[in-house]
């Protein structure tokens, strides 16, 4: 599992600006001026890549291809491939009834068209906007999702429309009640959805969170003293190109327009043996269904990654704001829509944090003790999907655990309401005139497993009581319980749901290799507890379009290019038939037993808004674990230096020889003479 240092890009590296430019030029030469929705690395074919990773010196390096999606004049969509070395287009497919991802530039256009459209102006006036104030009208353009009136041959956006009395006001407190529909090919508003009940523009005073507003309300609190986090000797990780090494971990950090961060070829050095764990990890798709069934709110179910791109929407991060300590950044490089280039500086931040106690034990007999602090490595991006912010952190622990963590912050999507209007349970009045609808945030984690090799098997793990009744010889006192393991043999069987009652987990095992002590297959366990069911009902539009969210887990046999479970081109899919994962699974008969498999895990939160979330939401975290179980032959972190360690014999010898590497920078909060030297006794006067 090596790699050689060279000036050539690593096959997993995103396209460089030069490569993007090359691809654009080749396409322009062949097809003239088009709009570039995608120019991105086509990831190397796995068979070829695996061979190269196993033996990079002698195996041919996988060639670089650009995946290109363009919109040509007349709204014609082409999905192509460019061989960068050969400078030739190897695929150029005209799509019919498929809409590629919407770029930020396409989104930006809508607001300007909306402001000038006479019918929109008419509706604004009805709502209470002065005609001269149309520059104060804003809109968050969303793909239309799917609207059966228009289908998917015309490229459409719905404009969620708001008003800002002042440019610095948070617009989400002044929603307008109608919804213009924008035709991207024509650059025109082609329809406006107007509700039966009209809800005039709110006259509530603004409730802003910007400094001027806070100052006007009495100013910032002044009683927070600084916490300084510094790393005077630098960081504990090492980077070679985009390959990172840290605490026995090694992996490649990629990035694309769609998923944002992609981690490839994740290995762990287990006492000198480099063991593969995951071939690829990413957040592959998400869906945010809103729960108000009144049209057109049913169209609010953002598949943000497929529709807008977690890469395209990613923030440029900044030192000391988004992370503290000693940070390494990586940029992201993309085409612009018209075939230029753009760089998002600091799209990824990489840093370490203290992780509290890694392990501790005291012997109650004598107060001998060991206490060792842990460290974590965080690979993070933040993307802004119009109102919401998603902070996505890939957290690596020293003990072999990977803990993907997402924090939700930003602003609620809101809709207008009348004073004392009944929200009918579909939403909450979070501020006068502001109805925040119920919604879910469901994310699909794609786990391309490689647990000690490509052939893996997934088992459902359920904690269950012994079947034997209380009083029976097998379970006389009734306390027997065990881990019930159910093998998932086919793709069909693997469509499984969470079960809170059994603390269900999914075990990704390599049944070809047993732990030397437990004699159980080496495995990583998916431990995930934020697993709400999909609230939209079976047969609903969301259920059809976001099929990956029907179950907590799907497992598929690995096939190249099966990356995104709602399909490659997500805007305006009807869900009939469902794209992506349901197509791949088909009749469900494909075996996934001891095969190269991909596990798709949908997790997230169901959010019933409340006034605490307004006008900006305190971050709400969710986290899951990929934990080694029966993978190592013992605790893999015993060699992390302890802060303090004393043994019984050292206690007997008056603490001679104890290891004291206590952090000397920590201090007592108050100089009250309450000493705190390490590891005092339990208060008895004996010789404990």
């Amino acid at each position: 599992m090596g790699s050689i240092v060279t000036d050539l890009p690593h096959p997993f590296d995103p396209l460089s600006l030069a490569e993007i430019e090359t691809a654009i030029n080749i396409v322009k030469k062949a097809h003239g001026q088009v709009f570039f929705n995608v120019v991105s690395l086509q990831e190397p074919r796995k068979a070829e890549m695996t061979a190269w990773l196993a033996n990079p010196e002698t195996t041919p390096r996988p060639k670089r291809f650009a995946d290109v999606v363009v919109i040509a004049p007349g709204g014609k969509v082409y999905d192509g491939l460019v061989d960068l070395a050969e400078a030739k287009i190897t695929k150029w497919d005209l799509l019919d009834g498929e809409q590629p991802i919407i770029t930020m530039e396409e989104l930006q256009l809508v607001e300007h068209v909306v402001r000038k459209d006479p019918k929109v102006i008419e509706q604004c006036i009805i709502s209470g906007v002065a005609p001269e104030d149309m520059h104060k009208v804003y809109c968050d353009p969303w793909t239309i999702g799917y609207d059966e009136r228009f289908g998917n041959k015309v490229r459409l956006q719905q404009a969620l429309i708001y008003y800002r009395p002042d440019i610095d006001n948070c617009q989400y407190q002044y929603p307008l009640d109608f919804c213009p529909i924008y035709d991207a090919d024509k650059g025109e508003i082609i329809a406006i959805d107007i509700p039966k009940v009209r809800r005039p523009l709110s006259k509530a005073p603004p409730m802003d969170y910007h400094p001027t507003a806070v100052e006007a309300r009495g100013g910032y609190r002044t009683d927070l003293k600084p916490i300084n986090i510094t790393q005077p000797e630098g960081v504990s990780f090492k980077l070679t190109g985009r390959e990172i090494e840290w605490q026995n971990w090694k992996f490649h950090i990629g990035f694309n327009y769609r998923e944002g961060i992609v981690l490839n070829n994740i290995t762990f050095n287990d006492k000198g043996t480099v063991r593969p764990i995951f071939y690829r990890l990413s957040l592959a798709e998400m869906v945010v269904p809103y729960g108000n069934p009144e049209a057109p709110h049913h169209r609010k179910h953002a598949l943000d990654q497929g529709e807008y791109g977690a890469g395209y929407m990613t923030n440029s991060l900044s030192l000391g704001c988004d992370c503290k300590g000693s940070i390494h950044y990586m940029d992201a490089e993309f085409p612009t829509r018209d075939g230029g280039l753009r760089t998002i500086k600091n799209a990824i931040c990489i840093h370490e944090e203290d992780a509290g106690i890694l392990f501790k034990h005291s012997d109650f007999r004598d107060d001998s003790v060991i206490v060792t602090r842990g460290r974590k490595l965080i690979i993070q991006q933040i993307f802004t999907a119009a109102n919401y912010e998603y902070v996505v952190a890939w957290v690596f622990h020293q003990d072999g655990t990977i803990a993907p963590e997402i924090k939700l912050t930003g602003i609620l999507n809101t809709y207008a309401m009348l004073e004392d209007e009944d929200t009918k349970g579909w939403g909450t009045q979070v501020y006068p005139g502001v109805n925040a609808h119920n919604h879910q945030h469901l994310f699909c984690l794609r786990i391309d497993a490689n647990i000690d090799g490509p052939n893996n098997t997934v088992f459902v793990n359920d904690a269950v009581p012994s079947e034997a009744p209380v009083g029976s010889p097998e379970n006389f006192y009734g306390n027997g319980f065990y881990n019930k393991r159910t093998k998932l043999v086919t793709e069909g069987e693997a469509m499984t749901d969470y079960n809170g009652a059994t603390s269900r987990a999914w075990e990704i095992a390599n049944t070809n290799k047993l732990n030397p002590y437990s004699k159980k297959p080496v495995s990583y366990k998916l431990v995930s507890r934020e697993v709400p069911g999909l609230m939209p009902k079976e047969g609903s539009l969301v259920w059809k379009r976001a099929a990956f969210a029907r179950h907590a887990v799907h497992v598929t046999k690995y096939r190249d290019d099966e990356l995104w479970p709602a399909g490659k081109h997500v805007p305006q899919t009807s869900g009939e038939p469902s794209r992506g994962i349901t197509e791949w699974i088909g009749d469900g008969t494909t075996s996934i037993d001891n095969a190269d498999i991909v596990l798709w895990h949908t997790f997230g939160v169901t959010h019933f808004p409340s006034p605490e979330d307004f006008p900006v939401m305190p971050a709400e975290p969710m986290m899951l674990l990929l934990r080694p179980r029966n993978f190592f032959a013992g605790n893999p972190v015993m060699d992390v230096p302890p802060s303090y360690a004393s043994t019984p014999s050292q206690i007997l010898a008056g603490k001679q020889g104890v290891l004291d590497a206590t952090d000397k920078l920590s201090t007592l909060a108050f100089a009250n003479g309450n000493g705190a030297s390490c590891c005092k006794s339990n208060g008895f006067n004996g010789t404990h």
Copy 2:
């Protein structure tokens, strides 16, 4: 909700050393030499205390009483009360068939008796211990739990017995296969449980985690660079006696032998209005049932708090080891068994940590942005229950959230096994000859609610789809869903279980007060996702003894002295009838609607051991949230100073006037010239 500064103890303060001594002297004078199992504050009667808290200047201060439990000669157990001011015993009840908590000193005695007992020596020799090596035999004495052969009139411990070839070896790798039973009154071994299948002492080489062992295996890793955490201006909290104020929070920090940390009178200053939230929070009980049904392993189901005490077993914490930064400590003060005094220095640590992003939002139009970092306050203790360590942290967030967090570390309880013995699914061989049995860690969080006053109501909250079918006018597109709220009217109805499918939460509401915007009752929501069911079956010994663990939630009407849900005197309860919560609930008809209520929440983990957990366990965290919902009229943290804030008008003005309080101590990991000044653009060349 004030309190006056005085030299008198706060009524919630634990007994001081002087008060403990006073109580002991009064008891000794009246009853001669006895063993003191408990001398602890009897908490003030709530009615009296509430009156005093409301008006401390004019209301009589609640009197100080010592709750005293002793064992007199002949094994007679007395449960008494001492009025400290009046110096008199006001209650002195002889208990029959009840055993008080086991002290650390009682535990310490057993090992010495075991080593000298001829029958134990005989069994050790059979196991393979040389007769001259009896000093290498150790035991972890546990209360016997309940054994029907002996009942509860004799005070018993079971000695889980181990061998250490060397004093510094971790004993848990050399379990012996038999179990001596110790009579605490006689100070003798009265029986030995000997298994049918004998398992001789393991001859596997030791696998230790102490420095000498790590050095012998190649030494500690050397690639971890320090992370320094300092608070040069001190901490942001203030203490008056044991009352802490931090970021609008104010509460009293108590501590007792049983629960350890107790937080009382938790209030939040909401823009000048001090709002009560919880009268009292604590971990009130726990149970660790093991899943091997073969006797005598069924007796392994530690109710650690009731049987040994999370206070009595608490660690003396140390600066820079257990926490980093600027720490305040509080000691714990207890009697010794023979009527002396002991102090556990630094039993509680209090510190702040950076909490990452508190909120962030960018406007995708122009890159105007606000990013604000959060802070948390942590009140922590660590207790060692023989093999396991429990790190209990009460984490307060600025946004009104309280997040109790428990980390498990330490060492697995282990039992002997033959080479290649079938563990039958009840355990795992974690090392040759070492069988670690399946177990659960179930904790009972006691929430004495006071949401804007004492009269509160609990609702189950379930996220459910609209009942209307897809295609019906009410739910045409099928996306409708809502928060189904079910009021728990009686104690009987309130025995409720977790439901992962509906992301069930419990809402503690004050139905007498509505949120001004949402018009919903002000509430705190219990969001808890680590909620395994009790694995021991209905009717089992554990099910009977630890009745609180039968359901995720119980709710009772507040009654003084109903503190500990498995009963006050837990060792050797038979569970027939169940003590504690089932007694209090009785026929379940008591109304809890708009009443002074206590919510009992059982949460935790089910643990199937694996070799990664051996010989010492990397910390495994679990966390739950108590979140304000419809409690505040808006985001309560908008006045936390941001790291950086720019508004659209400031962006238009070339970033003039932006608020830049970026942490200047953060640095780039590598001096590669990749600048990172705050809040760059999204890479377009326009005037965004």
